[in-house]
Symmetry: C2
Subunit: 465 residues, 2 copies
């Protein structure tokens, strides 16, 4: 039996040897390229300087605003100056909402405290109260179910105060956000069904804070459009405390926001052409628009400069990709997703073949891993690279997910990947005046660029089949 | 054969079944207790409020200072108020160094820029120049080897400028620190051997910064004690650039620091007595002293309040430990390690049996894992809990290490564990005026307490044998 097996064993041994040698070589070449990517990002990186400009020279970039227009031109020039193979704009019409002068939120007639000014801001997309404002009694609820139980009888003419907090016990703050954000998105519609005059929504912040968080809200056809504001978590707690003792409190809100006609804008795209499979595209993106209160540093200036940085690193390393690598600055993620929809629509129309799209829209924080939306074999292939990436702090490859802007590519069968940084500090800044450049750590931002570049490199080298 | 095996199989099956049930029960009980620990820390935690007091009401706590004395009393009262079984002080004499009035660092005679004031501070433990200051030429070196090659001929009477940066390509910033910090610790001794008048050391910061980092330095018997200052990384780069064009630059340094007589101080210890193996001690600690420039928030107020918080969480959960759990606020880590030495000396003298000591002295940042110094079977046992801890972001159990203050327990065969948070931002603050309360994130701090409490719980339940 032994003798009979010998011939097979020889082939098997040879095959195994070849396999080990090939895998070994490829592994070590991958490892050394990835090490070079990190060195470039950490010792000669440009992402932090780019973000400095985008935040401190341009600032807030709400869709349709002068800041958004400036950011489009800045991204185009920046990518052209880095010498990418091609850089172009994709026209897209975007919603145009303006906040107007500062909002007023005021607790009136509190038996204990009299009149108290509280920190509020209009929610994005809301109609304004106009200069006359609204004064009304306040009904506090924690859920839409509670609201429905109260019904028109108790809600008619009142301000509905949605005060369900983000759950601090959630390890991932995005999960806590997911558990609370329907109050912001749909609170006005739900309250208006029962005749409410307006809504006050507890800010989507997980800690006690003195400042409010804005963010998108929607109206529904056939339901009256009532004004919606966010209140800081500290003042939400105060209002709730006062209401417990004194149901007769009234609240004054005054907002000057307006919904204007849609405005022209653009996605901005830069590309390095692939040498071997140039028709296979790997897109990496962030969204260029931001809310109007801060500088859009973590949300999502970080994702934009990281995406540009990946292509810049490849170029300065002299890395010639097999596949075509694109950096996409999506417009209008915050209040419409028109950029993401337009990008997917044109990809389909132009017969483009995206093998993967990756988004960074969870802030410029220290790396943890990637989320993956893909069929099982593709997911397993990506997870198989964990060993190479784990020394760089990338150990979490377990969750589903991509990103809002790349989501519209899903029907085209594109593998969607989300960059997953640490989530603990994100909701200190998200959609607030605090989302400024000084809240971004240079190394954390750079490690994000390098982490994504490393995975893009692996996909480029080995494909996803 | 089948029939013969049956009796054994029955026993085996029974055994396996029992094992699986027991393991299953224990696992799920561990998991639910750990979940409770995190809930306590994240929704009813006190670590952030404790740190607020320690930083904003007490502030800097250099050994021998009024701040250090206040911090001793504060920790004692805090642990007594939480109702720990016993709280006591361990007297220890500590070095007493004072900075005196603000330092001056000035580039003179630069052909290009004339006179430039630069950001400097005396290194801890240095002698002062006194009001007359020192003016001298500057010799820049990157290493002690380079210094030795230059020798007395070039160094005599000069200020030696140690300018080897922390390596930004190191993923772990502590590794980058380890590669540069001998310049700060031993630069003055090495330069004095060749007759230098003083030393200017590039700050131990990994980014371009406008402020200097202090930190400990040592003198050696028989070598002249020359004054040592740190210069901000940005001004180190400036000085280096100017020296390249103009070797004739002189530099003026003036420091007013003094080495005083040793002063009395204390370690502060709080304890919850074990119910089953009360003679087995698990100690968790941080160091209560800090440098004098900031508030000692990350270094190491965080570690102190986290250690207290662990015992407080156990107590409020009603968890009765099997073993004795101690929180230890060590005194004088920064410039002498006298507290850590005293603690180990008394443990030995009193015949105490520590089965583990854990230290948190890498800042109040988001959890990554633990470092372990222990024999292989113990290390493997701890690493075996990774599956329970990984959902909480604790995935790195691979490195050696404990902590400076618990190091003196090593000769007693104690398992040493270091809490390992993310390291990227630590050296933005370490030993600087920037190490203040506002640089600490509430959730990141709380997750640190919970992470350590979870591992302490597992050690308490299952031992380390």
């Amino acid at each position: 039996m032994i003798f009979k097996l010998f011939p097979y064993m020889k082939y098997t041994t040879l095959f195994l040897l070849l396999f080990v040698l090939t895998a070994g070589f490829s592994q070590s070449s991958d490892e050394s390229t990835i090490r070079k990517i990190y060195d470039k990002a950490l010792s000669e990186g440009k992402s932090y300087a780019m973000l400095d400009y985008l935040c401190n020279k341009i600032g807030a970039r709400l869709s349709g605003s002068p800041g958004a227009a400036a950011a489009v031109e800045w991204s185009r020039h920046t990518m052209e100056d880095f010498g990418f193979d091609s850089v172009w704009l994709q026209p897209v019409m975007v919603p145009h909402w303006v906040r107007g002068q500062a909002e007023i939120g005021r607790i009136l007639n509190s038996k204990k405290m009299g009149t108290v000014d509280v920190a509020v801001c209009a929610l994005g997309g809301s109609v304004g109260t106009g200069p006359e404002g609204i004064s009304a009694g306040v009904i506090e609820v924690k859920s839409f179910e509670e609201l429905a139980q109260l019904g028109q009888k108790h809600v008619q003419g009142k301000l509905v105060f949605f005060n369900r907090p983000m759950d601090p016990n959630q390890l991932q703050t995005f999960a806590a956000y997911g558990g609370a954000v329907n109050q912001r998105g749909s609170g006005a519609v739900e309250a208006a069904k029962y005749g409410a005059a307006g809504v006050i929504v507890r800010s989507m912040g997980i800690n006690p804070e003195s400042y409010p968080h804005t963010g998108g809200m929607r109206y529904a056809t056939g339901v009256p459009m009532i004004p919606a504001i966010a209140i800081s978590t500290q003042h939400a707690d105060l209002l709730s405390r006062l209401l417990k003792e004194d149901k007769g409190i009234t609240f004054y809100m005054e907002t000057h926001c307006q919904i204007l006609d849609d405005a022209p804008s653009f996605n901005v795209i830069g590309e390095i052409k692939g040498g071997e499979f140039s028709n296979e595209i790997i897109a990496i993106g962030g969204h260029l628009d931001s809310w109007d209160l801060g500088q859009g540093a973590h949300d999502d200036g970080a994702g934009c400069v990281q995406s540009i940085e990946i292509l810049r690193i490849f170029k300065t390393m002299g890395y010639k990709p097999k596949r075509t690598i694109r950096a996409v600055m999506f417009m209008n993620e915050e209040n419409g997703l028109r950029g993401g929809q337009k990008y997917a629509e044109l990809a389909l129309k132009n017969g483009e073949k995206h093998i993967a799209a990756m988004e960074s829209d969870r802030g410029g924080f220290t790396p943890r891993g990637f989320t993956i939306s893909a069929p099982d074999p593709v997911r397993k292939k990506i997870q198989g690279w964990k060993g190479i990436l784990e020394p760089y702090g990338l150990s979490d490859f377990s969750s589903e997910g991509g990103g809002a802007d790349i989501g519209p590519l899903a029907p085209q069968g594109v593998t969607l990947i989300g960059y997953l940084p640490d989530s603990q500090r994100y909701f200190n800044y998200h959609h607030t005046a605090e989302d400024t450049f000084d809240k971004v750590d240079k190394r954390e931002l750079e490690l994000g660029s390098a982490s994504m570049a490393a995975l893009v490199y692996l996909i480029d080298q080995h494909g996803l089949k």
